[in-house]
Symmetry: C4
C-alpha cells in the first residue's frame, strides 16, 4: 500500500489546522494600533501553536520518509493523531482570548499531551509495520525527546493553576527541544545512501 | 486517465470537512472549566463525525488502491459522495448545539444514509469501470457492511423521534462495524502480490 | 516545467471553495425541522454552486490531462480563473440569503460570466503552450459549449431584474449542458492510445 | 529527502490563505447593489492580497523547480515564510474594513516586509542546500527584484501615516514588478535542457 495518500491527507489536515487558527484572531473594529493590543495574547498563542503544528508536520515528514510500508493500523493511528491536533485551534483561541487563564492554559497542555501520546502510538505502529531491523527503528533509537515531552506537559498541566508563567514557559521549552528537525532520521537516511 | 487528481481532490475536500467541523465548537467566553460544559454535546457529535469522515477516507483510499481505471462517470459519482459528506459539518453542529434533539438527530441519519447510498453508487461505478473479473470486484465481494449500514440508518431516523439514545446508539454502532479498515481489499491486494 | 504543482494548487483552492460554501449555511438556533425552512434557498444555491465548481474541476482536470507543457502565462491564467471562482461562495451566500432577489441573482451571473471568460483565456493559453497540432487543440475543437455558456450568462444577468425564475432557470440550464464531462477530450485521449 | 511533501504542504497552506481571505468579505444583509458599496475597499484589498499570494506561490514554484536537495533548515525556513503569509488574511481584512486607514495600511506593509525577508531567507537556505555552482544560484543571480521589494515596503510603512494613497500605490507597484513570473529561472531551466 502506498504512503502517498497518507501523506497527502495529513498534509491537507495539518495545512488547514495551521491556517484556520489565524481566524481566531478576529479583525478588530478600531483602526488604531491600540485596537490591536487586546489581540496580543491571541497572537502569542497563535505563534506557539503554529510552531507546535510545524514541529508535528516536520517530524511526521521525517518518520514517513524513513518508512516503506503502510498498514491499516497506521491509517487509524494517523487519524487519531490528527484528531488531537485538530483541537489545537480551539484551545489556542480559548487560551489566547482569556489572557492565559488557568483552566484554558491547563487544557492546552492536555491537548499537547494527548497529541504527544498519539504521535508515540503512531510511531510504534509505523515501526511495527516496517518489520524488525527497519531503518526507522534504528533512526528513532531511544527517542529521548519523545519521552521527555509528555513528562513536561504532565508537569505543566497542574502548574497552570499555580502560575500561568510556569505552564507557558514549559510549553515554550517543550517546543524548543523539538525545533531542531529529527536529525537522527536525517542522519541514518544519509548514512544508508553511503 | 490517472487516478492521482481524483485522490488529491477528494483528500483535499475530506481534509477540509474533517477540520472545519471543529469551527462549530465556538470558543467559550468564560475562562473556567465549567464554561466548557455546554460544549460537551458539540464535542461528542464532533468525535462521532470525525470517525465517520475518517471511515469514508479509509474506505475511499482502499477502493481506489484496488482500481486502475478512472472513468468520467466515476468523477461525478465521487463529487456526489463529497456533496453529502460536505453537509456533515452542518448537521454535526445542529445536532450538537441542540443537545441531540429529535429533528437534528434524525437529519444526521438522513445525511449518513445519503452518503452511504452515494458511496455504494461510487463503488458500483468504480467496479464497472474496472471491467469484469477485476481485483476490486473480488475484494468487495458480497459487501455485507455496505448493505447493513443503510439499513441501520433507516431504522435510526424514525427512532430519533422516539428516543435520541436509540438513534445515537445506532450511529455509534454504524461507526463501530466500519472502524476496521476494509480488510477484504487489503487481503486480496496482498494475495495478488504473492 | 511540471504540471503537478499547478494541479495540486488548483485542487487545493477548488476543494476549499467547494467546502467553505457550506459555512454560509449557518446552523439554525431552533431544533425543529421548521427551523430549517429559511435555509432552503441557501441550500438550493449551495447545490447549484457545488455543481458549477464540480464542472470547473472536471473540465480543468480533462484540460490538463491532455496537456504536456506548462508555461508561466498558464500559471497566471490559472490564478485568474481561481480568483473568479473564489468569489462564488460570496455570491452564493448573498443570493441564497436574499431568496434569489434581483441584484444578487444578477451578480451571480456576472461571476459565472467572468469565470467562463477566465476559463476560455486559460484554455487559449494552454493550447498556445502545447504548440500547433497538439492533442488538446484537436480535443477542444470548435468548443461549442464554451461559446454557448457566456451567451447564456449575458442573457441571464439583465433578466434577473425581470424575473428571478428566468435567470435561475438559465443558470440551471448552463450547468446541465456541462454536466457531461468533456467527452471530446476523453475521446481523443482514448483514440491516441489506440 | 524529497521535495514533494514540502511542495504539497506549502500548496495546501497557500491555497487556504488565498481562499479564506474571501471569508472576510461578509455577505451583506441588504439585497440591493448599494449594499455592496461598503464592501468595495474590502474587495480591493482582497484583490491586492490575492495577487501577492499568487506571486509568492509562483516564485515558490519556480524556486523549488530549480532545486534538487531539501534540507531540514529549508523546512523551517519554509514554515517561517508560511507564518508571515498566514497573517495576510488578517491584515487584509483590517485594512479593507477600515477603508485603508493609516495604521492598518502600515501594518499591511510590515507583513509584506516580513514575508519578503522570510522569502529571502528561504532562498538563501535553498541555494545553500544545493551546493555551489547550482542551477538555482545561477538563476537567481543578482536578485534585483528581491532587493527592491523590501526597500519599497520600508518606504511605504511610514508613508501610510502621511497618505494612504502613497502607501497603497507602493504596494500596487511592489506587486507589478513581481507579476511577471521569475523568467530568470525559467530561462536557465530551458537553457540547461538544451
Amino acid at each position: 500500500m502506498g504512503k502517498g495518500r497518507l501523506e497527502a491527507f495529513s498534509d491537507g489536515v495539518l495545512a488547514i489546522i495551521i491556517t484556520i487558527m489565524v481566524l481566531e484572531m478576529k479583525v478588530p473594529h478600531g483602526e488604531t494600533l491600540e485596537a490591536l493590543l487586546p489581540l496580543l495574547p491571541v497572537f502569542l498563542s497563535y505563534v506557539l501553536s503554529f510552531i507546535y503544528v510545524g514541529i508535528y508536520w516536520n517530524n511526521h515528514h521525517h518518520m514517513l520518509q524513513a518508512s516503506q510500508q503502510v498498514s491499516g493500523a497506521m491509517l487509524w493511528a494517523n487519524l487519531h493523531l490528527l484528531f488531537w491536533l485538530s483541537l489545537i485551534p480551539f484551545v489556542t483561541g480559548w487560551m489566547g482570548e482569556n489572557y492565559f487563564a488557568a483552566a484554558p492554559t491547563a487544557l492546552y497542555g492536555v491537548i499537547l499531551l494527548m497529541a504527544a501520546i498519539a504521535y508515540w502510538v503512531l510511531q510504534r505502529t509505523t515501526i511495527g509495520a516496517q518489520g524488525p531491523d527497519s531503518l526507522l527503528h534504528t533512526a528513532v533509537g531511544r527517542d529521548l525527546k519523545g519521552k521527555i515531552s509528555p513528562v513536561l506537559y504532565v508537569i505543566a498541566i497542574p502548574s497552570a493553576f499555580l502560575s500561568q508563567w510556569i505552564a507557558g514557559g514549559i510549553y515554550v521549552l517543550g517546543a524548543l527541544i523539538w525545533l531542531v528537525p529529527d536529525r537522527r532520521i536525517e542522519h541514518v537516511l544519509r548514512n544508508q545512501k553511503t
